[in-house]
Structures are given as structure tokens and as C-alpha cells.
């Protein structure tokens, strides 16, 4: 990438820059996202109208979407985790969507960020499981009825699969966002490079431009879908923690 980096620079968009006190451009967009979420919820619900307006509808739809997700996936006991899942979903969704703005920084394209969020989910899920089931929680790693002789194989496999939740949760979001933004940047660079070659180049640039238009639409889908996946997997893990299968 070092040589190509001079012509097609797809990765500089992920570069962190320092603002102040360790606060980076990534954190700036987290702050913008947080303010936007708060504004949506607080300003949207300001009127508390019985017949909601557009902003209030958006706030209510977000609320009911996550509320129903938590209710269906975790059940009645899951309601106390609803604010957490809601915050998580909105934070990831706004991070993904803000990244679609030109010149914006996509903080969900940083593995450190997604891993931290996944770790928060993992710690919460494990703490909830331990709080509800105590030491019985460890029976989760050895399914009931399995032959004792297989324990040396089953238990490590179960533990690894449990720990790998953090990795799969974080890498899925990180990889999706990075891949999407790299593709957008690469095709956009094609457009610019071909466009500088004169008339034939401008005609040739139409193809990557058309592709990029389609990719932008696709990226909006991915932005929503990955936030949804992150939230619903959190719900499924919470279900496991509450019910232990």
C-alpha cells in the first residue's frame, strides 16, 4: 500500500487527529452523534403531542423499534436493559450515518471503538449472568446431559466461543464500515484520476461514478443494518445471560 498510497489514498480517512487533551476527531463525531441523538429525543418529545409530528414520530419509532426488539429477544426481564440497548443502537447508528457525510469521520470504523463497545456488552452480559445465576452460570460452558468424558473438549470450546463474541461483535461492525468507506474512496479516486485524462477519461469516469452512487445507497443500508445487528446480538447475549439457555 506504500507505493499505491501516493495515487490511491483510501486509508487516510481513518487517520486520527488530535484536538485537545487526547480528544480526537473521532471523539468529536461521537460528541456530535450524542448531541444529535439527545436533540432528536429531547426536542422531538418537547411537545409531547398525542398526535405526533415528524420529529416526534421519529423519536417514538426509534423507541418502539428497540423496545420491541428487547421485549421479543430478552423478554420481560430485559426491560431494565432497554435504555442500554437503545443508547448502544442509536450511538452505533448515528456513528455509521454521520460517516456518510462528506469530510466526516466514521468512528465505527475504528476497531478500538467497536471492540470497546463490544467489551462493554460482554462485561455487562457476564455480570448480569453472574448476578442472576451465581456459580450456576459456569454450567453454561458444559451443556447438561453431555458425556463427562467429553468435558476436556466441550468446556474449552464453549469458553472460546463465549469469549469470541467480543471479537465477532466488534470485527463485524469495524470490517463492514472500513470496507464500505474504502470502496467509496477508491471509486471516487478513480473518478478523479480518469477525469484528469481528458474527454475519453471523463466518459470512462462515468462507470465508477455510477458505481459510487449505488455504493452510497448500499452504505446507508449497511449503516442501518450493522447498528441493528449490533443491537440484536446484544439482546440475544442478554437473553442467554438472563435465561442460561
Amino acid at each position: 500500500m506504500a507505493v499505491e498510497g501516493k495515487t490511491i489514498d483510501a486509508l487516510s480517512q481513518f487517520e486520527l487527529t488530535h484536538v485537545a487533551a487526547g480528544f480526537t476527531n473521532s471523539n468529536l463525531y461521537m460528541l456530535i452523534g450524542g448531541v444529535a441523538i439527545s436533540a432528536l429525543m429531547v426536542l422531538g418529545m418537547q411537545k409531547r403531542a398525542r398526535v405526533p409530528g415528524r420529529l416526534q414520530s421519529l423519536a417514538e419509532v426509534s423507541y418502539e423499534f428497540i423496545y420491541n426488539m428487547v421485549d421479543e429477544q430478552v423478554g420481560r426481564e430485559g426491560r431494565k436493559f432497554f435504555p442500554f440497548v437503545f443508547t448502544l443502537f442509536m450511538f452505533v447508528l448515528f456513528g455509521n450515518l454521520l460517516g456518510m457525510l462528506p469530510y466526516a469521520f466514521t468512528f465505527t470504523s475504528h476497531i478500538a471503538v467497536t471492540f470497546t463497545l463490544a467489551l462493554v456488552v460482554f462485561i455487562l452480559v457476564t455480570a448480569v449472568a453472574l448476578a442472576i445465576h451465581g456459580t450456576k452460570f459456569f454450567s453454561y460452558f458444559f451443556p447438561e446431559g453431555a458425556p463427562i468424558a467429553l468435558a476436556p473438549i466441550i468446556i474449552p470450546v464453549e469458553i472460546i466461543s463465549y469469549l469470541s463474541r467480543v471479537v465477532s461483535l466488534s470485527v463485524r461492525l469495524f470490517a463492514n464500515m472500513v470496507a464500505g468507506h474504502v470502496m467509496l474512496k477508491v471509486f471516487a479516486t478513480f473518478v478523479v484520476l480518469l477525469g484528469s485524462l481528458g474527454v475519453i477519461g471523463i466518459i470512462g469516469a462515468a462507470a465508477p461514478l455510477a458505481l459510487n452512487v449505488a455504493l452510497v445507497g448500499f452504505e446507508f443500508l449497511v449503516a442501518f443494518l450493522q447498528a441493528y445487528v449490533f443491537a440484536i446480538l446484544t439482546c440475544i447475549y442478554l437473553h442467554d445471560a438472563v435465561h442460561l439457555h
Partner: protein, 168 residues
């Protein structure tokens, strides 16, 4: 890849600020943003349920009113029909009575007229008998020159009348 350059201290500070921002957002969302939404949704649900309940009550009321109205209409119709039937029956009886009395009167009139006709006929026949007897006596006297015995003339006339009356 800048995301994997973990030697960069900004990666760590980014995570620390992430925790601060996410934590603050969680508190803000759970304490400030979500309760009003829950309140509004609950209020709306309650209002809709109350409205539905009121509508159901009003519909039951309307149904009862319609039933009462229909019952009253049916009763009025039955009453009207009964009254009509009674009136028709009375009129029919009256008409029959009138017809009967009229028939009686007509029969009486007829009988009286027949009696009058009979009397007139008898009277006329009597007059004819005496005139015919006189005429017969005069005719006999003129033709024969002899005055017939009155009894014989009367008897002959009576016989003639009787035979002509039979022929009638």
C-alpha cells in the same frame, strides 16, 4: 491501516473519551430522554382505550334507543291496525243494518203499492161491471126492444169478464 497502529497514543485516548461520551449519553438517554417517550406512549394508549370505551358505550346507548324506537313503532302500528279494523267492522255493521232496514222498507212499500194496485183494479173492475151491464142492457133493449132482466145481464157480464180475465 491507522486503526491498527496501536503505538499511536490517540487510539487509547480515543477509547477513554468514547467511554466518557457513551457513559454520559447513557445517563442522559435513560434519565432524561426515554421517560417522556414512555409517558407519551402510555398516555396515548390510555386515551385511545378510553375513547374506544366511550364509543362502545355510546353505540350501546344508540342501539338501545333504536330498539326502543322500533318497539314503539311496532306498538303504534298494531294499535293503528286494531283501530282501523274496529272502524271497518263498525262501518260494515252499520251498512248491513242500513241495508236490512232499507230492504224492509222497500218490501213494505212494495206490498202497500201492490195492495193499492189490487184495490184500484178491483174498483176499476167493479165500475166496468156496472157500465158494461148498463151498456149491455141498453144495447139489448135497442136491438131487441125488450128490456132484459137486470140479474141476467149482470151474470152474463161477470161471465165475460171472468173469461177475459182468464185469458189475460
Amino acid at each position: 491501516m491507522p486503526q491498527l497502529e496501536f503505538a499511536n497514543p490517540l487510539i487509547l485516548t480515543q477509547v477513554l473519551w468514547l467511554l466518557v461520551i457513551f457513559g454520559a449519553l447513557y445517563v442522559l438517554i435513560s434519565k432524561v430522554a426515554l421517560p417522556p417517550v414512555a409517558q407519551v406512549l402510555a398516555d396515548r394508549e390510555a386515551a385511545i382505550a378510553a375513547d374506544l370505551e366511550a364509543a362502545r358505550a355510546l353505540k350501546a346507548e344508540a342501539d338501545a334507543a333504536i330498539a326502543a324506537q322500533e318497539k314503539a313503532a311496532a306498538k303504534a302500528r298494531a294499535e293503528a291496525q286494531a283501530a282501523l279494523r274496529q272502524a271497518v267492522d263498525a262501518a260494515k255493521a252499520e251498512a248491513a243494518k242500513a241495508e236490512a232496514s232499507l230492504g224492509e222498507r222497500l218490501a213494505a212499500d212494495l206490498a202497500a203499492a201492490e195492495a193499492r194496485i189490487e184495490a184500484a183494479k178491483t174498483q176499476a173492475l167493479g165500475a166496468i161491471r156496472s157500465i158494461a151491464a148498463e151498456a149491455a142492457a141498453e144495447a139489448t133493449a135497442k136491438l131487441t126492444g125488450t128490456t132484459p132482466e137486470p140479474g141476467a145481464v149482470v151474470a152474463a157480464v161477470d161471465a165475460a169478464i171472468a173469461s177475459s180475465g182468464k185469458g189475460r
